[in-house]
């Protein structure tokens, strides 16, 4: 097989993932796009390992490591996304602007938004307390 086929497929897959990372708003969709990019890298590693006939199978062993790392990454990432969702009531990455340097006009908007979030948080805390009581 011509080496160009897997290499081009992996390049295109990586760029699809890149588009997803830049364009998506939901944190979980963002994680999916990162998975696509990792999968593209894995395809490249396997294709070059088979091409070079490596004695110790470095490419394929690295792919196995990469799959395990992706599983760990998705576990930690989802835990963080769920924590943020519990505390802020949103999983949109562009709403998390607490640490941003703000202009005067936008600050007023953000304060208003944050008040809304706080009310939702209070509601969430109420539910949580009920759960712990029962």
């Amino acid at each position: 097989m011509h080496l160009v086929y897997p290499a081009v497929l992996s390049a295109l897959l990586f760029c699809t993932g890149l588009y997803g990372v830049l364009a998506r708003r939901n944190a979980i969709l963002l994680l999916m796009s990162v998975e696509l990019m990792l999968a593209a890298v894995s395809l490249n590693l396997v294709a070059f390992d088979v091409w070079l006939r490596d004695e110790v199978h470095s490419g394929q062993v690295f792919t196995l490591f990469l799959i395990a790392l992706a599983a760990a990454e998705i576990g930690i990432g989802l835990a963080i996304v769920l924590l943020v969702y519990r505390q802020r009531g949103t999983s949109a990455v562009d709403r998390l602007t607490e640490l941003r340097e703000r202009d005067g006009e936008e600050a007023a908007d953000d304060d208003r938004e944050r008040d809304g979030d706080r009310e939702r948080d209070d509601a969430g805390n109420g539910n949580r307390e009920e759960n712990t009581v029962t």
């Binding site: 897997p6 939901n26 999916m32 998975e35 091409w51 110790v56 924590l83």
Partner: protein, 177 residues
């Protein structure tokens, strides 16, 4: 692998690779553009499953089955759980994409053009010999546990750390504001 290789007479494996590659790319594109969040996760299954078929075509059978088990079996299920737990809407959600979509499209297109040009130019004369398989479980296992045993053990410690980290992060604390 000289002679008999030509762009104009692709082998059967190459034809299958291109067809499955189109499925993979289509699944990936739908995954990053779909407005229905659960559908996006299911298109990710199509893309990653097609990728497992590509590994089989490249004679890397062990990696292919690990891909099916870990990616399709656990990662996508985890993602679906995450979507459910963050109360993802079942219907189309109009705010799935952010405002910088055109910029993202331009960046991705430029990166794709650069990478494809470079890769095609660099590996124009490289051929993969697929007649002798290179990736059965036996040889992979022996090189994994002879040469790569130290990284393997380090990875198991990392997985344990990730497990504990995920539990600690998602635990409900007392007195949380």
């Amino acid at each position: 692998m000289t002679g008999g290789n030509a762009y104009l007479s692709p082998s059967g494996q190459e034809i299958v690779f291109v067809l499955v590659g189109l499925v993979v790319l289509g699944g990936a594109v739908l995954c990053v553009t779909s407005r229905q969040l659960v559908h996006a996760a299911l298109w990710l299954v199509v893309a990653l499953g097609g990728l497992a078929v590509q590994y089989l075509l490249l004679t890397a059978e062990f990696v292919a089955w690990v891909q099916v088990l870990i990616y399709l079996g656990s990662v996508v299920v985890l993602l679906l759980f995450g979507l459910m737990l963050t109360k993802a809407p079942i219907g189309p959600s109009p705010d799935a994409d952010s405002r910088n979509r055109p910029v993202a499209f331009v960046v991705a297109l430029a990166a794709a053009a650069t990478l494809v040009t470079l890769v095609v130019d660099a590996f124009r004369t490289a051929w993969i010999d697929l007649d002798t398989p290179h990736g059965e479980s036996g040889p992979i296992g022996s090189s994994l546990f002879r040469v790569w045993v130290l990284p393997f053990e380090a990875l198991s410690v990392l997985l344990l750390a990730a497990l504990i980290g995920a539990i600690v992060v998602s635990r409900k604390r007392d007195g949380e504001s």
